[in-house]
Amino acid sequence: MNAASPMGMPSLPTAVDYRVYHDAHIFAAEQRNIFKGRTWCYLGLEAEIPNSGDYRATHVGETPVVLVRGEEGKIHAWVNRCAHKGATVCRSLRGNQADGSFVCVYHQWAYDAEGTLVGVPFRRGLKGVGGYDKNFDPANHSLEKLRVESYRGMVFGTFSADVEPLEVFLGPVMCKYIDRVFHRPIKVLGYSRQYMAGNWKLYSENSRDSYHGALLHLFYPTFGIYRQSQDSAGELDEQGYHNVFTVSKPKGDIDYGSFGDEANREMQGVAKLQDESLLQFRPEIEDDVGLHIQSLFPSVVLQQIQNTLATRQIVTFGVDKTELVWTYFGYTDDDEETTRHRLRNLNLVGPSGLISMEDGEAVELCQQGTAGAEGKHSFIEMGGDDVRGYYAPMGMDENAVRGFWKGYLSLMGEALAVSAEASA
């Protein structure tokens, strides 16, 4: 008799056990092995905290973290959890702490911008009564500090003492594309936050899935704007963790009316846009790339779609609670008209994005559909079963989704099977 494992077939990059979207033990293991493991997690943009004392609340996985600009411009990050009783120290989303100190309201333990404990009320007691033992050393009671590195103004943090430097973690291909977006100084235009009742990995797959683009997001074909002949490509870093998609605009003037001729759908041209300024694209980087979607493992997407620029940070609150924090930006030298143009273009993306809102629904549909499906597997073989560094065109391939799972499975290792058994 076949002594099949009670866990069934193990997950592969081409076939993942749906359990991974629902299992609380796996979620806890992901926090340890991925978000606090040998990775760099996106924390925010340097442009969000330009001045000394500026701070911004952020997350690594589910862990609340604060990003702070200290004296002399150095950026620090620490876990937002007082070393005394575990209370939240910094209670605002963002702001400026002019004196550079962060004081827990509960017992007024005070920390500097680096997260080092600098003050404890009644440390020596009062008139010889109470207080801490004389051996109490504040140096042992600082906030938990992360290692912080920036690349081109994108700030990342890690809990790992031995992960490779950020630039090596990202790899040369990813750095080249980050350079592309951050080719000149940026300014933040605002935020939106999208809360999905779905697992974070469903969104990570979604942003790496070039197969669904023209099939789920029907805005372009509905208005007869989609055309297969646009040049598209996908590139991965060496390990397959990260990827980038690019779609180039046809050379020369763009006549949207002509797009219908090449559209691949029966519904082509059923509607006509009343106001095409929504779609206007003004190339501002030295190429014709109109779409650049870059997923950096494990928790951020960097995008340029038309003239929209944004990061999308993935925050994990639970197996089926995922927040996507969109940070929109432009360039510091944008004039008023350019900003207005970006705001108009922003209709395309974000939680109300005409070409993107469906992603939130797709994540929730997969979460709902995989409930109770432990031991059953997804099927990720569009375009093959391997992970390649380059592919073009990208629309008929799930290469980068397999790359994500390859990275995920290697970081999770035995933890996946052990967690699954613990839940069984």
């Binding site: 999208q194 009343q274 106001d275 209709n347 809102m357 629904e361």
Partner: protein, 159 residues
Amino acid sequence: MSLIDPALQGLVDSLNARYGLCLDDGRLEQWPEFFVDNCLYQVIARENVENGLPAAVMYCDSKGMLIDRVVALRRANVFPEHFSRHLISRAILTGIDGETVTSEASYAVLQTRNDGETRIYNAGKYVDRLLINDGVVHLVSRMCVYDTHRIATLLATPI
């Protein structure tokens, strides 16, 4: 301080009531008709407004763009099936200058999806500029400043 003309107050409140019911009844094609041609409609997070940041989740600066939103919603966009319910407060008229009136009103949009539960989906306030001509009111601009900066799933139907 001069008293607000009750008839003017009534015109503005009536516009808001009709606007809410129009969306809640699903008569989306009629929604752009509340606006002048050269309008500005925005749905923007309060956290952005209070920090002087301009990014909005919807930004339509022409009636054509409002119509495009509705056509996209009907034919292209995929979102959870739902009902909306607007509860809109009495408006405060903040300025009157000839035919132009500025006003603000609080709103709450409740949403009911297929599971049948009604949830507070989006709460905020309208910051409006209206044009009143021969007793007919149109929106020149409507900025929906939402407190609920965590948008559940996605935001498809206008606020």
